[in-house]
């Protein structure tokens, strides 16, 4: 068996997610290659070559792959997928955007958000917002899979894979990049943070999210949000945790002013320890919280910050 892993890039650098996807590939077993596609991605390729268990890093460095637009990325994967038994990517917005195209063009199904590997053809994946876990077996010749990174611990960085350039240049006259508005933050990435503190509609407005900053600073936490907080315009969409946002599983998750709708729980209920702060003692979030504190967040947050 041989497995191709499409690497995630974050501002041209290798994103943390990829080390988790390589771990999933190891659970499947076989030779593991990584594909880095983008423009000016040598540093990412060097970082990928250090990941444990990787055989070869294949680098498609060309302007057509900048911003990893779906159309050229799909064509590239189709071109490179021959000979592989599995193609994997993280269930990031890039993985989700690109992998189904490969699957369709190869006339195979795609498995989304795999969080467990039983064997080379049998996998676990969540359905119905994670309220059920399906065991599925694929008899397709090529298995195309997106990986939920919280299901696999990252591999180490003591490898030394070979790096090889890919010459194939996809053509793309259908789509073009216009602009990107990326959130700038010195905080850890939501997906990889050990501590996450999230605010919901109860925060009242965007300004009040500052109340979470001091606590996040002290705990080295990433800041997340519920969909209601995003919809209300308090914070940008990239902070949304949940079924249709980011999936997190930190050591500590603190939910502030969040009721605990199933769609939100879907994104955080695999956290090790959950704390809920809510003024409604009947809020469903308390059913999944290890520690619940009933009260007004506007009193609790400043006190928590000062006592940490």
């Amino acid at each position: 068996m041989s497995i191709l892993v499409l690497a995630d890039l974050h501002e041209g650098q290798l994103a943390g997610a990829t080390a988790h996807v390589v771990a999933a590939a190891q659970a499947i077993g076989g030779d593991i290659d990584i594909l880095i596609a983008g423009e000016g991605v040598q540093a990412a390729a060097d970082a990928a070559a250090k990941l444990d268990g990787v055989n070869k890093v294949r680098v498609a460095d060309n302007a057509v792959y900048a911003h990893q637009l779906a159309e050229p990325m799909g064509a590239l994967l189709v071109e490179l997928s021959d000979g592989y038994s599995h193609v994997l990517a993280s269930a990031s917005t890039t993985g989700k955007n690109v992998l189904p195209r490969l699957a369709a063009l190869k006339d195979v199904s795609q498995l989304s958000d795999v969080l467990g590997v039983e064997s080379a053809d049998t996998f676990l994946r969540p359905i119905y917002a994670g309220n059920a876990i399906a065991t599925v077996k694929s008899d397709d010749a090529l298995k195309v899979i997106t990986i939920r990174t919280t299901g696999f611990d990252a591999v180490g960085e003591s490898g030394s894979a070979t790096i090889e350039a890919v010459d194939f240049v996809a053509e793309n006259s259908q789509s073009s990049f216009v602009k990107e508005e990326l959130a700038q933050s010195d905080r850890p990435e939501l997906g990889g943070a050990k501590v996450v503190i999230s605010g919901g509609r109860g925060m009242g407005n965007g300004e009040n999210f500052k109340l979470l900053d001091g606590i996040a600073d002290k705990l080295g936490a990433a800041i997340g949000a519920s969909r209601a907080a995003v919809d209300a315009g308090f914070v940008p969409n990239d902070m949304q945790v949940g079924q249709t946002g980011k999936i997190v599983a930190p050591d500590l998750y603190i939910a502030v002013g969040i009721s605990g709708a199933i769609q939100h729980l879907a994104g955080m209920k695999d956290s090790k320890v959950i704390v809920a702060i809510n003024k409604d003692d009947e809020a469903p979030i308390f059913q999944v919280a290890d520690y619940g504190l009933v009260g007004d967040l506007f009193e609790i947050l400043p006190e928590l910050e000062s006592k940490l």
Binding site: K96, R101, A104, E180, L293
Partner: protein, 249 residues
């Protein structure tokens, strides 16, 4: 320009599902069903394009059992002009749906196809991307803004790092994210009128598409339940528990 919208009948998003005792699947008997929320947003966007004079006709399509006609009638009540029901009792996976939709695209030649980004039952998030690949059309997924501009459409996409805008040549495939719009509710007179709007019934065989997939569902289980925790009385107690009991501080 014609706009094609794909809608799926799924469990109502408020319902908490149960797994069947024999672990063969989730139990959908007597469960409230509805249009997938992302598909409601897709219909709304198509109808708004018509109201703005950008679209001339909105065609809704679904793949599913007879009962899925309810969701097509909802789409018609919300403003779609006609509907196509591709009837099958088999579990149609994203690839099969995408193949069927590709045939409909071929027949109908829409300028824009709008789908939801994700069906909330399988949580697949694949069909639009697969359709784009099969029809060789560009895709704008997870859209929070769609702006048709002559021969092009600008799609603002919700991505992990923030927002990305891409320009696509038309025809194009768009999948909706939650912030794209707020769907309207169907009014009673429109629900009555929808009953008279045209609804074509086809089968996968009419399009020469095999619905069966090579992925089999072996087992469905409930996730590990979290044990209910404790309530703490104060911030001090919380910090103490996190330090000394949970050892996460």
């Amino acid at each position: 320009m014609k706009v094609l919208v794909a809608v799926k009948r799924v469990i109502d998003y408020n319902v908490k599902i149960r797994v069947k005792a024999d672990h063969s699947d989730v139990d959908l008997t007597n469960v409230k069903m509805a249009m997938n929320p992302f598909c409601e947003i897709a219909v709304e966007e198509a109808v708004r394009l018509k109201e703005k004079g950008v679209a001339t006709e909105v065609v809704a399509v679904t793949v599913g059992p007879k009962a899925a006609q309810e969701q097509l009638r909802t789409a018609l009540a919300l403003g779609a002009d006609r509907a196509i029901h591709i009837e099958t009792d088999e579990r149609a996976e994203s690839l099969a749906v995408a193949k069927l939709l590709a045939k409909v695209v071929d027949e109908e030649q829409p300028g824009l196809v709008i789908l939801g980004k994700q069906a909330i039952d399988t949580d697949n998030n694949q069909t639009g991307q697969m359709l784009a690949a099969l029809t060789n059309l560009p895709q704008g997924t997870f859209a929070s803004e769609v702006a048709v501009d002559g021969e092009k459409v600008n799609v603002t996409r919700e991505i992990d790092g923030g927002l990305q805008t891409v320009a696509l040549t038309l025809p194009a495939i768009v999948t909706t994210d939650l912030r794209l719009n707020e769907p309207r509710y169907a009014k009673l007179p429109d629900i009555m009128k929808a009953k008279k709007k045209p609804l074509d019934v086809k089968t996968p065989a009419d399009y020469g598409v095999e619905v069966a997939s090579k992925v089999s569902l072996l087992k469905v289980e409930s996730p590990a339940e979290r044990k209910g925790g404790v309530k703490v009385a104060s911030v001090d107690e919380l910090i103490d528990k996190l330090k000394n009991e949970a050892k996460v501080l």
